[in-house]
Subunit: 354 residues, 5 copies
């Protein structure tokens, strides 16, 4: 199963405006939640479908609609009708192989991005598409999987920590993006620790695990890069957007995220290069070691093969082999052999093989 | 036969404005089809030549002229006269080694691009040049080969699925491009699955097939890149075009294709780098394995060659070789040999070769 | 002799405005030709010097002055005076190591570019500097070597094929550039066929010829790149030029060349990368093969060296060596040897070396 | 512990505007210093907290507030209240994993950058985040560690050397940045000397130290690059800033720093490439040496193994082995052996292995 | 001693506006020369200090002040006072590790660049910082070393060759830059010849000299690149400068230098890549050769080791070894050995090792 691209054969024969789910998560029951808040109160609802939620929304609150577990084109259609979203946006929500992007029109700002998560056990990075829709008094968030990723924000709303309760929906919108982007840094931190930790192995160990590790880390960092890089286009546009949905006071926050994304991308590039360097160093070290092995082999062979040959000569059974019959022949032979060995050792010493 | 560039020697001695077919497909009989539709009806015609089609076109319909199997300069000339296309455009239609591009003038928008197709059997990517001409009430599509590539769109027109029947020719124009671009993603999906699948071979197998596979995939992905990359210039221009042939409502669709092409190009780059990494890893693994082999060789040689030498000494036939005549000489020799072997084993153990 | 840069020591001590020939072609007698044409007639002249040609030029014709075999500063000076060209332009004409560029002023458009030619015998690419000067009713072309490169255009003028005779000098100017650029594609086609053809060698053969071929192709493609890349700046400027020497109708032709040059450059890049990949694959294959060789060596050595050692022990001449005197010793030894060999073979089988 | 990214898990659950210290320096007692000067006098204060300092500031002086040892969110909060800084700036001051950046508003210019220091003993580069705030009559500098890095500037103020005492706070602001940037060059100078010094080792030595050195230098240079590169964005913005806090006369100084940073970045790139080249050369040299070793082995083996085989034949104990009984057999054998050896030597000579 | 960066520790503790000499040339006595000329006369002076020169300058002449051997901050200060240069410019003149740059103000245009020189003996490239100051009626040139580099220009002034005597100081300014840039091409020509000449060694020789040569050339070309690349920014600005010091007629000359610098940079890039390719090819060839060596070894070993083993068996001294006593045993053994050898040869033939 390809991980860097999802199969969209299903899509080809359908026209645009057709909402087709693209992705390989297995089905979970979707979950519909609404949290409506203003300075004085917080109300939470959970419903069985979109209609149920919409009926609970109120103009006096900021309404955060959270839809988890996204597979059903019907649900997406329903949302589309309820919030009057354009068919292209609906189609992109359903397509979880969407490149991160931002779509602005007069009524909404929609952004598509990936949440990434480093799984410590498998050392794999998982990604999940998140779609955020900002309207005049609501934010809708779509998640592929049912999870607790946004729970900290919900808690801050509930407990009235920070400025969320006193600000407009654009601030909530910002906070959600910020949580996702901060999470990129956390994920990079975990990967970075592993990658910088390779350093101690590459010069001491020589086995498949090291190579597999290096390749695995490179793949994961590529995977994160694919998710993170296009986000800079989004933050740049948010920073400079003239949409009326954004109050002036929220702009510096977007500039801040933009800096963070640039930081993330530069860190990714540093690690990417670092892995390549590690592979090169590992390779060089392997060659070094091969060289060592071969020198040992050559020294043994070059010393003992000639000596064995000499012994072989005097092991022949010729009737007439005069040296065999001299009294000191054997000792002379041993002497000559010793001499040869010493000469060879000096030769290798001079060649700096020893 | 070069695959990345077509032989255009034939062209050089001819002047511009001369329509010369460049390409290496073998001749098929060209096919001329017209599908005229509006909200209420769909009429289809098939003719023997261009004139036959033009006579059936009607101002009350959107007319889609489909010309398959493109080799005959005369046919292209006829089309040129019938629709009043510029000679340079006609020449480019005939040249199937055309770089994807867009040409706009007051009466037409013409785009040249490649359709790519992944052939599962040979794991090859085939490409075919497609030219699309948008006029005020018609779209003309030229294909190199007679095929069924656009059949799904025709079916949607026939069965009135989606918005095709209620929209203008610019929407049909968009739908055709969208089909081609979606197909890039499908093709990349197939290639991607193969490339990501290499992963399991590169660390376990060591043979020519793996290398051939890697090289083959790299060539194919280059081939797709050559076809896809210039298309971004087209979609960017379509998105920003101020031609009167485009209604405002079709612009977001072009922006959507533009995103998709960017996604495709980024995916291509990811896979391209991934293949290089795989080759590097494969190489490192080969070195690892060579190292292993050499260690085995060296250990055997370094242990047994000296022992054989000792045996060789006592195999000599010197008349006077005192050790031969002591009672325990043989056992002492065996002991010394054993000792030597053990010492060597310890030495290699210490060197971590064992 | 450096091929990518020409020796310009001669130039350094001279001032600018000094016309100094830089290049390494050997001297040929220069050739001066004039072809004057309009819709109704074509007149051709050949003269011994510039003056002779200028006297034959007529305002009623388009005059194409062709000067082949460019070494003599005096000739260039004469041309300069006759057509009132700036000293810097004259100096650049003489310097055949000129980077392709365009110089526009109120009276002339001058372009400097390289014609490249693939020599099938030596598989070398030759290049030649060509300078084109466009004036109100003339085009001057300078060539380094006396040749027939522009003969096809001359023939088309003579035989009144195409639009040359009915158009202005800017169209002739375009046609000459187009011929040169088309020739880049032909040259790339030949090189491309060779490079794509390497593919079948790199995995089957292992010898110097393959490496030499790869290196040679890389050098040639670099050479073409150096000539072709800067031409894009020229075509871009021609496309957007507001010089009065260009009629509006010739602009699309320049846009067309611009596309072709972009195509050429992208093709060069594809081939450039392909060659690097081929070298990598070749290297990997070499390592594969080295691995194979070493396994064969190690298997033979690891099996037979211990066996030979055993035989060596029983070849010693100790007086007291009990095994020698048992009846079945020899067969037991053979059996042990067989067993050892089988064990080793199993070991290697398990290691997947067999 | 990852060195290229700091752990920010602590940050994720907190909201923006929450000041959270991110970094891994251990706690030192922070130090609060104020140096107030004008043309006629210099006054210095040291306090226990921010309030103490602020009370000593005077409008008749330029006030440089120096806060060393930055970990305590409370301190940063206090500073924020005292100087009315925006919450986002305060948060960034606390986050020592901040990418270098500049933030301008109507009242302040704030820049965040890294000071780097080459530690000769460990050959490591240390970095420290420094934040500078420029106001109408003050400069605030925050340092991670308590140190003497700015002592030279303080001395110049005290001793009235240079123009500091006669200029506005923007000049002090510039001088601090200049000191930091000059220090980049010093650090690069030390690293450069080490890197250029590798040259002599890579072709003569072959051991792990060389590889470790190369890898270490590459890591350090990457580390410096990560700190230095983003600074160009700062200097570029300073050069072009239209903030009223900058007098016109200070602009050329910023242009000068901008040049210096460009110089630093180019030097980093040169060294970065140089290290890669050194690794390549080292590798090539290793292969060269391996080749040498293998030739020695092969020559010994190819000469003596066949000779030993011959001796082995005549060491067999067959009852009927005619050659054994000829008188000159032994000498003939020796002759044949000598001949064989000479032939082999000639063969290797011809192959240029000797 | 680092060559790509100069030690500027001395600079750090000093303030800007402090003139500190940075460089590693040893002290020569500086030389002060003035050449004043107009159309009718040339006057030359040599003085002991700056004041001496300034007193000789005249408004009726173009004055070229040439100061060689630049180390003394006092001299630079004197020049600064005499010509009223800004302190930052003076400081940069003293810093010979200056990145090439241009500084324009209302009264002067100052450029800093490097002159490079290829020393044939050592195959090293030397560089020297040159500073040029253009004023309304003077040009000042500063050189690090006392030399004859500008002598050709001086001669052309003295002998009234070319246009120097009839043009303004801007033309002299241009001529000096042109001389420096032409010299880049000469230096590249020499390096290029060496680099292209490597080609014949890399496939035939295999020794350290080749590798050292390749590495050395790469370092030198990097060194030239560091000096040349930033010059394009200077020429670009000169081409587009609107300073009143430049007459319109001198602009095309600057455009010409700009082209030349682009040419130089492209040539550097070509050679840079070529060297990398050569190293790759050399490496591949090494592997090829290692493969060859190993095949020879393996063939010898695989043929003779089994045969020696067989001989070893019949060299054992077992009392009961039936084969020893058959009449034709010896010949059968020889036959079997021959057969084995032939089989092995066929096997290697089939594997294409022979």
């Amino acid at each position: 199963m390809a991980r860097f691209i999802k199969n969209r054969k299903a899509l080809v024969d359908k026209g645009p405006g057709m909402i087709t789910f693209i992705g390989n998560q297995k089905m979970e029951k979707p979950r519909f939640r609404l949290i409506s808040y203003n300075q004085s109160e917080v109300v939470e609802h959970e419903a069985e479908n979109v209609k149920g939620l919409v009926s609970k929304m109120s103009d006096k609150h900021i309404n955060w609609v959270n839809i988890d577990g996204l597979h059903n084109p019907d649900v997406i259609n329903e949302v589309g009708r309820a919030f009057d979203l354009s068919p292209l946006v609906l189609e992109d929500i359903a397509n979880t192989d969407q490149r991160p992007k931002i779509v602005e029109d007069s009524r909404n700002v929609v952004i598509f991005l990936k949440q990434v998560q480093f799984i410590a056990d498998t050392q794999n990075v998982l990604s999940e598409q998140i779609t955020l829709v900002l309207g005049d008094n609501y934010v809708i968030s779509f998640q592929e999987r049912v999870g607790t990723f946004f729970e900290p924000i919900r808690n801050r709303i509930r407990e009235n920590v920070g400025k969320l309760r006193v600000k407009k929906p654009d601030y909530l919108f910002y906070r959600i993006i910020d949580t996702i982007v901060d999470n990129y840094m956390v994920c990079l931190g975990s990967l970075g620790e592993l990658i910088e930790g390779n350093e101690e192995h590459i010069l001491s160990k020589k086995n498949k695990e090291v190579i597999e590790g290096i390749y695995h880390h490179k793949t994961e960092i590529s995977f994160v890069r694919k998710a993170v890089r296009p986000v800079r286009e989004i933050t740049r546009q948010l920073k400079n957007s003239d949409s009326e949905l954004f109050s002036e006071s929220v702009k510096p926050y977007f500039a801040d995220i933009d800096d963070l994304i640039t930081h993330a991308i530069e860190t990714i590039d540093v690690y990417y290069t670092m892995i390549s360097d590690q592979l090169n160093i590992y390779n060089t070290n392997l060659s070094n070691s091969a060289n060592e092995v071969m020198k040992v082999l050559t020294i043994f062979a070059a010393i003992f093969i000639p000596l064995t040959f000499i012994a072989g000569i005097y092991g022949t059974n010729f009737d007439y082999l005069p040296e065999l019959h001299f009294k000191y022949s054997y000792f002379i032979m041993l002497g000559v052999m010793l001499l040869l060995a010493v000469v060879m050792l000096f030769y290798f010493k001079k060649k700096k093989w020893l």
